[in-house]
C-alpha cells in the first residue's frame, strides 16, 4: 500500500503525553484527519485518553473527515489556556 508522510507537532501538555515536540508520521494514502488521530492515539495511549484535544491541519481547524496529503502539518491542540 502506498503511504504518505505528514508532519505532526505536539503542543502544551500533549508534548509531554507524546514525549516529543514533533515527528514524521506515515499514513495510508487518502487518510483523513480522523484516521491520523486514530494512528496517533494508538501510538501514544495517553494522548488517546486525553479530553478535549483538537487537531489542526495546516494551522486551521477543519472537519476530521478532511483528507490529508504528503507534507501536511497536523498539530495536536489540547484545551487552550492563554490570557
Amino acid at each position: 500500500m502506498r503511504k504518505i508522510e505528514i508532519n505532526v507537532r505536539f503542543f502544551g501538555p500533549a508534548r509531554e503525553w507524546a514525549g516529543r515536540d514533533e515527528m514524521k508520521l506515515d499514513a495510508p494514502t487518502a487518510a483523513t484527519l480522523g484516521a491520523v488521530a486514530g494512528i496517533l492515539s494508538e501510538k501514544y495511549p495517553r494522548l488517546g485518553q486525553a479530553v478535549g484535544i483538537r487537531l489542526a491541519l495546516n494551522q486551521a481547524f477543519v472537519p476530521l473527515s478532511t483528507c490529508v496529503k504528503s507534507g501536511d502539518e497536523v498539530a495536536i491542540i489540547p484545551p487552550v489556556s492563554g490570557g
Binding site: F11, G12, P13, I77, P78, P79, V80, S81, G82, G83
Partner: protein, 138 residues
C-alpha cells in the same frame, strides 16, 4: 507597528498610543496579570507560556479583524507574552480605540474572551517547590 504581538519581552500597557488614532474618543485597555496563588503549601512564582505561534498569530489577526467589524471600532491591538511571566507582570494586553466608550469596552472584553477560549496558547504553573503543572482551563 504590528497589531498582533507575541513576545518574550515585558508588555507595554500603553500600546494603544502606538496606533496614533487621533479620531478616537475612547481607548479601552485590558491587562491580564499573573496572580499569586497558594496550593498544598507551595506558592506560585510564575507562569510559563507557549504557543503554536504561526496559528496563534493567524487566529489573533482574525479576532482583531472581526472585533473591528462587529463592534464598529476604529482599531485594536493584541499583545501576548510567551515564556516565563512573573507575578504581577502582564501576560496579555488588549487595547481598542473607538469614537465612543461603549464600543471600546465591549470590543475589548470580547477580544479577551476569544483569546482565552480559542487561540493555541498554553500556560504552566511554576511553583516554589520547583514543580510545574499545566493549567487546566476547564
Amino acid at each position: 507597528m504590528d497589531k498582533i504581538i507575541l513576545t518574550r519581552d515585558p508588555l507595554d500597557a500603553n500600546i494603544a498610543s502606538t496606533l496614533h488614532r487621533y479620531d478616537a474618543g475612547a481607548v479601552a485597555t485590558f491587562a491580564g496579570t499573573v496572580r499569586a496563588e497558594d496550593a498544598c503549601n507551595r506558592q506560585l512564582l510564575a507562569l510559563d507560556y507557549e504557543a503554536y505561534e504561526e496559528m496563534a498569530i493567524a487566529m489573533l489577526t482574525n479576532i482583531c479583524k472581526r472585533a473591528i467589524e462587529q463592534f464598529a471600532v476604529l482599531d485594536a491591538i493584541i499583545a501576548h507574552r510567551l515564556g516565563r511571566v512573573k507575578l504581577g507582570e502582564a501576560s496579555i494586553v488588549v487595547a481598542v480605540v473607538s469614537a465612543h466608550r461603549v464600543e471600546a469596552f465591549d470590543a475589548c472584553r470580547w477580544i479577551v474572551d476569544q483569546v482565552k477560549t480559542d487561540v493555541p496558547i498554553w500556560k504552566k504553573d511554576v511553583w516554589s517547590d520547583g514543580s510545574t503543572s499545566w493549567v487546566d482551563p476547564s
